[in-house]
């Protein structure tokens, strides 16, 4: 008699696991997600993952959807589009999910689109760029605002302040570059004209030369910065250092408390478009978004112990658009769920009020953005025309 080898034991264990799984899967609805939880985009993926897990637990505790519990399967792509694509295939063919909420950035989302389109499974992306939903693909949606909307919101505010000749300084990273292009394209529609156009590298520690050139541009009335992260604060400080006194607009990519802290005094008077989530407490009581964003903010901060970010909010919106569509569809058939997602009307999320249609798979309009001004280290809602 030979003793059972370790190898055989492990093999038997694996087999048992493999056989045990399908039996359990019968009573759950599988939702997939591929997020950039680690890597350069982890500041997006991490709050997104936490949000999804948090609310899957909450929905399950309240009895699930259509009497079935939800099962969330999350894979981390580390920001790598190739890995994202592999995990997407795995979700579809191996895990057999009925829908997908995820794709933290544009690159990974674009790489995964063909997988879900071919499998006819709804895919709600959390990536920023407009190319995810334009042209409209039958099974692909997204929840975050687009760069173009941020530009138009800024232009709207400029029109109210009678500003027409403006300058832009943009970071050369993906986000900064893409928003610069969208702003330049939307200039005509927004009724403004760009007369200065400067760039800076994502790692630069000093932008005063570019800003001095902008300051010396005759007739300039306002300045926009595009790009996210630490250098948003560097630009803000430099703007004050070179003595620029024209209105200065930041973008939604810097919309965090740490931006205000890093910029210090220099942040006073800076305006930026952002989701209502940032000013949850300050929204007027008749704002329909107020209860939603307040509830999300409190739940997130209580569960994770960290300050809320708009990025986790995108995941919240995607998840509940899906949950409500599943409730309406009364089915776990991906195609039927997809039909209901497309019919989403008046959904109140953290990013705005969503009205999907066969020609619009984003469903947000400019009212989704609030114009904020920084005053004494905090956000303040700007009333139109002030």
């Amino acid at each position: 008699m030979k003793p059972i080898s370790l190898k055989a034991l492990v093999g038997a264990g694996a087999l048992a696991l493999a056989l045990g799984q399908p039996a359990m899967a019968q009573n759950t609805i599988k939702i997939g997600s591929v997020l950039s939880v680690t890597g350069p985009a982890s500041f997006l993926g991490e709050p997104e993952e936490k949000t999804l897990k948090m609310y899957v637990d909450k929905v399950n505790a309240e009895g699930g959807v259509n009497g079935k519990k939800l099962e969330l399967i999350v894979y981390d792509d580390g920001g790598d589009a190739n890995k994202a694509r592999t995990f997407a295939t795995r979700l579809v063919e191996d895990d057999k999910v009925v829908a997908m909420v995820g794709g933290s950035i544009t690159g990974t989302s674009m790489a995964m689109i063909p997988v879900f389109e071919e499998a006819k499974i709804p895919f709600i992306s959390l990536g920023g760029a407009i190319e995810i939903v334009e042209p409209v693909r039958k099974f692909v949606y997204k929840t975050p605002h687009t760069d173009r909307m941020a530009c138009l919101k800024i232009f709207e505010d400029m029109r109210a302040r009678k500003i027409t000749k403006i300058g832009i300084i943009s970071s050369t990273d993906g986000f900064g570059k893409s928003m610069r292009e969208q702003c330049l394209k939307a200039a005509k529609e927004g009724g403004v004209e760009f007369i200065a156009d400067e760039t800076h590298g994502p790692g630069d520690a000093d932008m005063t030369p570019q800003l001095t050139r902008i300051k010396n541009t005759p007739g300039i009335q306002a300045l926009i910065h595009t790009g996210f992260g630490r250098h948003g604060a560097v630009v803000t400080r430099n703007v004050r250092q070179v003595g620029l006194t024209i209105p200065f607009y930041q973008n939604h990519g810097v919309a965090s408390k740490s931006y205000i802290e890093l910029s210090g005094e220099a942040a006073n008077g800076v305006r930026l478009p952002a989701a209502a989530l940032l000013v949850a407490e300050k929204l007027p009581d008749n704002d329909p978004q107020k209860p939603v964003v307040l509830a999300y903010k409190q739940h997130y901060e209580k569960t994770t112990g960290q300050p809320v970010s708009t990025f986790g909010g995108h995941a919240y919106d995607g998840f509940f658009i899906l949950v409500e569509a599943m409730k309406r569809a009364k089915s776990t058939d991906p195609v039927k769920i997809n039909e209901e997602i497309e019919k989403t009307k008046g959904f109140i999320g953290t990013g705005g009020i969503v009205n999907m249609s066969p020609t619009d798979h984003l469903g947000l309009d400019l009212s989704a953005f609030k114009m904020l001004e920084i005053k004494n280290g905090d956000w303040k809602l700007v009333q139109a025309g002030s």
Partner: protein
């Protein structure tokens, strides 16, 4: 000599048998995709192994050549109207040409100059791919048109499994044969001792250059295959981390062994997929496993196991 060539034939036969038999145990298309990724990475690793294992030079910018191949099949059909298969060949020529231009002056020097030069080259390629967004789509990448051969639209994980498997088989066969040619012998000679090789009349610089160009062409072809299979490509594929991944494949699998390069690719592509069960500790586990491999199988997986096997066989005979 005969044992050499028979072991080489064995490598090829085992590989062919593995490619043919694996689909029998694959439960879903996802496995075909992971296997196809393994074959593609293995192709690039085999090429790099010619340079590292045989010629004894390190390339830290190999993903640059991979990226050139990948973007060739993306940019060629999209912007220039060149059919995908021709773009694939064009990419290989471009990568080989670039390797020749860079390698020619650098490989005349001894030491780590090639490593530094390739490091710079890889970074340059990835910067160009990121910044020339009109051509490459910038950091968000660009879609790649489907490969159409004689009216046959090549798509689906299973199809690509066979296409990449076939490519790997051909690539392996060429690399194995190379070992037995005068070039292969010259390469091994200069790996063991550059001075001795030079004294024996080997044109050291020329053979190093040949190895570098071969490695670049392999990487470019692998890059093209990946881009065509995915239908989408981002500049990460040409990034420094991907270069390091290729070097790790060759080292973990076993320097100088063609089978080792393939095994290295198997380990580095499949481990992250297996380790998803560990969630937050996934990267920790990956690093730990690679460290353990390097501590206990110092020569690399394949050469270490082969030595162990021989030791056992000798023990049994005695």
């Amino acid at each position: 000599m005969r044992s050499f060539s028979s072991s080489r034939l064995a490598t090829l036969l085992i590989l062919a048998a593995a490619i043919a038999a694996l689909p029998l145990i694959f439960p879903s298309g996802y496995y075909f995709r992971v296997a196809a990724l393994v074959w593609i990475s293995a192709l690039a690793a085999i090429g790099l192994n010619v340079l590292m294992g045989q010629a004894g030079q390190v390339s830290l910018g190999h993903a640059g050549f991979f990226g050139i191949g990948a973007y060739a099949v993306a940019i060629g059909p999209t912007h220039l109207g060149i059919p995908p298969w021709a773009s694939l060949l064009l990419g290989a020529v471009l990568a080989g040409g670039l390797a020749y231009l860079v390698g020619r002056p650098v490989l005349r020097l001894r030491g780590h100059y090639l490593a530094i030069a390739t490091l710079g080259l890889g970074v340059l390629v990835s910067i160009v791919l990121t910044n020339e967004s009109r051509w490459t789509g910038g950091p968000d990448g660009m879609p790649v048109p489907r490969l159409i051969l004689f009216g046959w639209r090549v798509s689906g994980a299973e199809t690509w499994y066979w296409v990449t498997g076939g490519a790997l088989l051909v690539g392996t066969w060429i690399a194995l044969n190379l070992t037995d040619t005068p070039t292969g012998r010259a390469l091994r000679a200069l790996h063991d001792s550059e001075v001795a090789a030079r004294v024996a009349g080997v044109d050291v610089a020329r053979y190093k250059l040949a190895a570098f160009v071969i490695a670049a062409v392999y990487a470019s072809l692998a890059g093209s295959l990946l881009a065509l299979m995915n239908g989408f490509i981002t500049p990460d594929q040409a990034g420094f981390l991907h270069s390091v991944e290729f070097v790790t494949m060759v080292v973990v699998g076993g320097l100088g062994s063609v089978a080792g390069a393939i095994v290295g690719a198997v380990v580095l592509v499949t481990l992250p997929q297996l380790l998803t069960a560990f969630q937050d500790y996934q990267h920790l586990m990956l690093g730990l496993l690679i460290m353990l491999f390097m501590i206990f199988l110092r020569e690399g997986i394949v050469p270490s196991l082969r030595a162990l096997w021989r030791l056992r066989a000798a023990g049994a005979a005695a």
